[in-house]
Amino acid sequence: MRRLVAAGIAVLGLAVAAGCGGGGTTTTQATGGTGTTAANPCAKDQLQLVNSGKLTIGTDNPAYPPWFGGTPKNPWKVSDPASGQGFESAVAYAVADKLGFSKDEVEWTVVPFNNSFKPGPKDFDFDINEISYTPERATAVDFSDSYYDVNQALVALNSSKIAGASSIADLKDAKLGAQIGTTSYQYIVSNIQPSKQPSVYDTNDAAIAAVKAKQIDGIVTDLPTAFYITAAQLDNSKIVGQFPTVGTPEHFGMVLQKGSPLTSCVNKALAALKGAGTLAQIQKTWLSEKASAPVLQ
């Protein structure tokens, strides 16, 4: 309901803005680079930013490990994105660094998942929030290239009937759950195809509560989150296994305004980080080894 209301307000806001701005001169920022030689469009002073001079990065609150780390500071809960700790925080600062922004010039803003793809202007330069790329989604927003290739994984209590599952076929009668808005849910529906309708929760926390209440047998989530759940959130639980990639590998991308000139710059930065081995290093530091979870064929 809250989301619908928020969307409604956004529409009203746009209508009002349109009414006021009608007939006036357009206030679109004039593009820089008037020189004869083509200026580097990714130079720091050429970037069109939400707040000039600052790189504004969005993610959802609470910010969970292993994506974010550090001691939470208001308004953040669980972790602090500005800490530089945790995989996504480290990647964000590495990209910022490549774009020429010091740590002090990076500002974090709370962007709930739905707000990352609402129509109209964004209040972040890019959003990094474990968002998987899909072609449908890419019609509404820009995605950066991959900063992490994702595998889905299954978490269950040690006492669960699916704790010993070794293949997808063993999950046919399982009641599975996933978080809303995740490709994990799509993976259940498209690839696991259990006989019982999967349950969908607002958060992984709610899914964990449902496991505790014995309402579902297991949670499907991305592998790093699965490690976090078993280590910190759900006692006596285990990663039953990770799921094989079906079709094109799933990856996380940063979300930007559709058609944003910043997208290619972020991609250049990511390519440089990949080339130098920095991204692999960050991944090794913050995310557990994929190899340590068995694959469910």
Partner: protein, 268 residues
């Protein structure tokens, strides 16, 4: 006669102008193409509508089962609260405490508490099904509201009705059963339906504990496509259901008014 026609014309013209201006302002706004494709994408609508309609079956089951219990339970609470005399004070106090508590508690909290909390107690014989606990939560909350509607109905029946019934030799219970409650319930049919429609929309809260109903299905499609049109599809489903219901209540109210009038004419 002339003034009437003039008023109608003015009303019509002002309505047309108002909506034309509104539509023009919205559709000519710089962001309209983007908003249009985000909220009114025919392709997304077509893809998501069948699934959303199917998910509505869960809502129908929820509000139909819950409504039956609500109507009975709320009447019981309302009658408790209407009991006269000092002897019944504890029951009245209980009924007041109940309505105060459950009108005040956020439905979300109750759904989480019962849906996740009650099964987690692991008491044998206690159902685990989120659907079951969702119905219980909705019945508890809505009974508090509906009890107040009933009470208003009961209090609107003139005390002389009860006095007349008692003087004819009916017991207090009989007077309540045959004289007061039937009149009270008829009078509150429209507000009861209002609460019923509210209940239908609140069945969406049940998605919090897992079941995929209309609203959750639209959220899933919304997240899959980054497009908000599935919510519009859900709205269409709900509206298709509530409008006929509203007309039905209008008709019921009209019928009971007509009966009252003709009934009065015959006895007179």
């Amino acid at each position: 006669m002339g003034t009437d026609a003039r008023s109608v014309t003015i009303a019509l013209a002002s309505t047309v102008v108002f909506f034309t201006v509104l539509i023009l302002v919205v559709t000519n706004s710089p962001g309209w193409p983007e908003v249009k494709s985000a909220f009114f994408d025919p392709g997304v609508f077509k893809d998501s509508f069948p699934e959303i309609l199917r998910a509505f079956w869960t809502n129908i089951k929820l509000f139909c089962i819950a409504e039956v219990f609500i109507l009975v339970f709320a009447l019981f609470i309302a009658i408790l609260r209407s009991l006269p005399g000092p002897v019944f004070f504890p029951l009245r106090a209980l009924a007041i405490a109940y309505t105060d508590l459950f009108r005040g508690v956020p439905t979300i909290l109750l759904i989480f508490m019962l849906g996740f909390g009650a099964p987690a107690l692991a008491i044998s014989g206690v159902p685990r099904s989120p659907f079951f606990w969702a119905v219980v939560a909705l019945v508890l909350v809505y009974s508090a509201y509906v009890a107040e509607v009933y009470r208003a109905g009961i209090e609107s029946v003139h005390p002389s009705q009860d006095a007349a019934a008692r003087s004819l030799g009916l017991s207090r219970a009989q007077s309540l059963r045959f004289v007061v409650v039937p009149q009270a319930v008829r009078r509150v049919v429209p507000p009861l339906l209002n609460d019923f429609i509210g209940l239908q929309k609140d069945t969406a809260l049940v998605a919090l504990i897992g079941p995929v109903e209309t609203f959750r299905q639209s959220q899933i499609d919304n997240a899959a496509t980054f497009n908000f049109t599935p919510y519009v599809a859900a709205a269409v489903v709900f509206i298709l259901f509530t409008i006929p219901l509203a007309r039905l209540t209008d008709w019921l109210a009209l019928r009971s008014r007509r009966r009252r009038v003709t009934g009065g004419a015959i006895t007179a």
